[in-house]
Amino acid sequence: MAMTDAHSTGIWSWLTTVDHKRIAIMYFVAGFAFLLIAGFEGQLIRLQLAAPARSLLDPDLYNQLFTMHGTTMVFFAGMPLVVAFFNFVVPLQIGARDVAFPRLNAFSFWVFLFGGLFLYASVPLRVMPDGGWFAYMPLTNPEYSPGPGIDFYVLSLLISGVGSIAGGLNFLVTILNMRAPGMTFMRMPLFTWMALIVSALILLAFPPFTVGLIFMLFDRRFGTHFFDAAAGADPVLWQHLFWVFGHPEVYILILPAFGIVSDVIPTFSRKILFGYPVVVFSGVLIAFLGFGVWVHHMFSVGLGPVVNAVFGGATMLIAIPTGIKIFNWIATMWGGRLRFRTAMLFAAGLVATFTIGGLSGVMHSSPPADLQQTDTYFVVAHFHYVLIGGTVFGLFCGFYYWFPKATGRMLHEGLGQAHFWLSFLALNMTFFPMHFSGLLGMPRRTYTYAEGLGLEVFNLISTIGAFIFTLSFVPPVWNLWRARRRGEPAGHNPWDASTLEWTMASPPPHYNFAEIPTVDRRDPLWHPYIEPESRGDGDEPGGAVPRRQPHEPPAPVVMPNPSHWPLVLAVGMLLMTIGGLGSLGLTLFGLLVTAVGLFAWAFEPPFGEEAR
């Protein structure tokens, strides 16, 4: 134990690490792998739909693939990639040495990973879930989905949901409690603000989904009747529980991307963010309204005109704070000295493509219009524009922005630009035609379509676009590989950005801040009253944050100890999850391991003396 200090790099040091920067890297690698896998599944779907009446995939496999594609993208690619950025960036931006609960942070990662691996255990067993990522009842009840496929869905989301809630709790406490002196709420960088809001969303949105999953598990395993119409229950309850989570989940995925571009656009425009408080409160408002719009996923259920009208109106309201943000980004760029490095390209690309997706979103916030669009490719076009054009572009933006900080190496600019333009082209080519095929009536989740309906051209263009999308992953992977050997050293602050994470060396030392800074203004590294030349020496007037952290901490820093108990606890929960497929003995054994892990964790000293 004592040997695995934060400096060693062996496999054991990764298994026991509690360092938020290492956990961020693990989240990123795992999330990126799931992104590639789910992208491959999407590619297979597009191949099947390239022409009418193809038989590459049979209907059954097709159902499994779109279910796995959606479930993976949302829970095992999108969320972990978002949390990877929370992990790496938030403690650095608020001036903290780690998160509030480092071992809980490691635990969150392991249960997410085990949840994903458990879901993918259904692939070699050839029993992938096939009920869509929303798993509507009664389609997923034991009568209509007798195999174990849906159980893989339910159990993997239950276990990874525990990790998500633990992560939300951890980051909420971290941001509320671990800010450097002077880092008031209205001085926090926008990414940290959005991480705070999203943490609250996770904490409030996941429990209803967890309860819904438990109901589904009990209906399937123990013969309860939560969704059984014959017993007097209402299967629509599942839709409510799913979407009262599912809609906030959309904001869990998009608000961090908004936070990233809100930090990146000012940096590359050489201007502070236009209307900082308005951008902050727009984010709060989006999150708040996000809990009151879930029925817009259910307009076609037939809950009645009043219900639909109220939820349609609430949905339209969300366009206001979202539009405010878009105008604030544009106003930040307006008159700025723009530098279109790769990160900025992705940020500007997000503003454009997210707006397109947002506009089609406003279209189906109106129930009469939505009734025409429900379950067609028009909706597929909409949410891919917001999830790729919003979330994925935002994550790529953050990747190019913070990669030099995380690794100490610069990425190749030309390869980055190639990545942007390829993915920008591919996104629009794949999903823009779906607006047309959708309005022509092409249904989602149907494995093929007939000839002569006018759908051939649109689908062929979409499939070619999807190929370009796959191709667009070559430059970034090559770029990563190249940066390992030939990336130029990044230095402390390669972009001349304004926030605290750019004050320390790249990559940051394991204690982050040799000296905890005292913050006296927003954008602390862009103090407008001090000449840039005089900012380097640490003795500025007015208590401004020094541009560079000292090389060595002046006093020994106490850092959290590495621990293997989070991993043990997660393994225990994985065993319980596997046991949930039908082995009570394994579940009880998993419970025992979990209990042992929990007690050992509780009685292990969390902090140790760490020499410099």
Partner: protein, 189 residues
């Protein structure tokens, strides 16, 4: 690491409050489901056939008294009165156990009377809602028992008052949830 925090609230205590916020959504969803399905049961037995209000009133009272014991345990540990701490912690855990015993009796009685978990809509919602609450009480009893063992070993004193306080926050929350469940399930039957 554990220096002063930005809000002045210790990290662990803030985490417990946050967790309780999340738990409100969990129980809120379970309670909402119970209330939506109330009166929609199609297969006997029905709630009024089985629910024994006088019996549950007694165990409810015992659970509420455990919250009082918890308050006394915290007060005792804060003034470093270790003998009283042990006594009140033990009574808190014991009252929790009595409540759980009552729930065990109630569940087995219901099953005996022809209401297994899979019987009907009432059994589904009732057992999962009260069972989730019971699991929370059981977790709390184990937590209190651990604190008691620490106290008996002489490893719990006024320096750990915050730990007891956080356990108390959890315990009071679980009690408050039961007051809601008792009202909605039993009194409104």
């Amino acid at each position: 690491m554990e220096g002063p925090t930005s809000t002045g609230i210790p990290n662990r205590k803030l985490a417990m409050w946050t967790f309780i916020g999340s738990e409100c959504m969990l129980f809120g969803t379970l309670i909402a489901t119970y209330m939506i399905y109330r009166g929609r049961n199609l297969v006997p037995p029905y709630p009024h056939d089985l629910l024994n209000i006088p019996f549950i009133t007694v165990t409810t009272f015992v659970l509420l008294m455990s919250s009082l014991m918890m308050v006394l345990a915290l007060a005792a540990v804060q003034r470093n009165d270790l003998r009283a701490t042990k006594l009140w912690l033990a009574l808190t855990a014991l009252f929790g156990l009595i409540f759980l015993g009552g729930q065990y009796y109630e569940f087995s009685h219901f099953v005996h009377e022809g209401l297994p978990l899979s019987r009907n809509l009432f059994s589904s919602t009732f057992f999962v809602l009260t069972g989730t609450h019971g699991a929370h009480v059981a977790g709390g009893v184990i937590w209190l028992g651990t604190l008691l063992v620490r106290a008996i070993d002489g490893k719990l004193d006024a320096r750990h008052a915050e730990t007891v306080e956080i356990a108390g926050l959890y315990w009071h929350f679980v009690d408050v949830v039961w007051i809601i469940l008792f009202t909605l399930i039993y009194l409104l039957v």
